[in-house]
Symmetry: C2
Subunit: 298 residues, 2 copies
């Protein structure tokens, strides 16, 4: 794989996604922050401002390189080597509790010793689980996966259930999606197919999210639904800061804090022993924040 | 040390602190949640409700026992043993940004193989650093330390600077205080003195916090100060979920989530690249969120 082609395609994807989200929102727009990394490389972080539907969101691109951090070398049990890593990372928090939070990330990593892989994922965190929406999301993700490999969706869907899990709450973060890491092949044709798959997930993201923006942003909601959104945003914070391997790794290895924490919601609430009312929409949502739900066949 | 005496004294301390905080607030009161741990022991978590000055606060007591979790055994490089641990833990978030957030914790840990120690700390997180208040706090803490050992304050003050540090922000959580761990002695008289010291920190807490409640709660403040409070509360969340060893350990070892996370603020905000205005009160506060400030001699 030519890292320059991957970098260029990831940059193009960032541009495409930002344009699509601006069109979907209709009012807000992205502002760009370019930054450089002392040890090598840098990125451009784009933050959504003054939106109608999107309250806080970022689409980050980075391409960094240099000596591989000790933490990675130790984990892989490898000796000193240089690394190169590029990726696109997105989290969107909408104003309306009727529109889901979404996250998408794709990344490529290689080392001077020949180690290399693609990773990524896309997952949806509805404040209220709507079964039709959940089914639609998983069907779209599955369709994209199936174009490349029929094993991808079942394998990566389970991986997402396990990854996007708030262990100390016994809750999934949302309805999951797919998560994958260390996808690699010695066969150049297969490696190229993995690259195309990864990009397809990137291009799927604005399509599927614009669908939810358009469909749900005008639905009415009350203060109690806004409050529930704040509680769920608190859970989002808990997942990202306590369990998300990417966030932890970034903060541990002196990554760019503001780009890593652009995933934080604009607001969040914590209430001791928050209880939902029996049979309420909130209680029903909690019933669906579980692993191993077969959303596609619901 | 007799663990039953420690347990009883810690329970008495919890009762004393709750009464003092109720008197200090004047309106709100504590509600108690008793809970049991499947593997042994339990606790009583007291949460402040409907306060005038205190918006969210908890005073937790626990005394748990059973087989020592693998994580501790690995860390200490010890073989299987039973453990007993008891402690009192407090975090108070006031309504007013003029009143500081405060945290206090004291704990005792022992194992069937003879390992045992006391640990604890108290630290203040003003939303705005007031130099007189900061000096007063550190003087009071030093006075209590000095009653037992002249080395305690300088040693434990430095330990707090290092412990209550938000590495990914290059900021301390607040103005620090003291932090200590694994205080132990083979000499029973000395061990008893450590126990008395630990309790003195517990009894210092309501005195010093009632002082700040009384002095600052009626000061006027504006929306922009409330907003800054929300940003600082976000930092408090970041410290607790990313760096606080106690929180991480609790969530990792299947502790009682609601008691561990009673430290979370009622609300928090995140803004991408939040900037303070030059020479503003907010900018000045950031200048004081540094290690190694000699507050006592300011």
């Amino acid at each position: 794989m030519d890292k320059h082609i991957i970098t260029r395609d990831f940059m193009d994807l960032q541009v495409h996604i930002c344009r699509e989200l601006e069109l979907g929102d209709g009012i807000g727009s992205f502002q760009e922050d370019k930054w450089e990394r002392v040890e090598g490389g840098g990125g451009r972080t784009r933050i959504f401002k003054n939106g109608k539907i999107i309250e806080k969101g970022g689409v980050a691109f980075s391409a960094v390189e240099g000596p591989t951090p000790e933490k990675i070398l130790n984990k892989l049990k490898l000796k000193k080597a240089d690394f190169f890593a590029t990726g696109v990372s997105i989290v969107i928090h909408p104003y309306s509790p009727m529109v889901p939070i979404i996250h998408m990330n794709i990344r490529y990593f290689e080392m001077s010793n020949g180690v290399r892989w693609f990773g990524g994922g896309i997952d949806l965190t509805p404040h209220y689980v709507d079964l039709e929406d959940a089914k639609h999301f998983h069907q779209e993700v599955k369709k994209t996966c199936d174009l490349f490999n029929k094993d991808y969706y079942p394998k990566f869907k389970k991986w997402a259930d396990d990854y996007f899990y708030i262990k100390h709450r016994n809750e999934t973060r949302g309805i999951g999606g797919i998560f994958f890491d260390r996808l690699d092949s010695k066969d150049p044709i297969e490696m190229n197919s993995i690259f195309e798959f990864v990009k397809s997930i990137g291009y799927l993201f604005p399509n599927v999210y614009r669908h939810f923006m358009a469909k749900n942003h005008a639905l009415p909601y009350s203060d109690s639904e806004k409050k529930w959104q704040s509680i769920r945003r608190g859970r989002y914070v808990e997942f990202n800061l306590v369990w998300d391997a990417g966030t932890k790794f970034g903060l541990d290895t002196n990554g760019r804090t503001e780009s890593i924490l652009m995933s934080m919601p604009p607001t969040a609430n914590w209430e001791y022993m928050h209880q939902t009312i029996e049979n309420s929409k909130e209680a029903k949502t909690l019933l669906y924040l579980k692993k191993d739900i077969d959303w596609v066949s619901l």
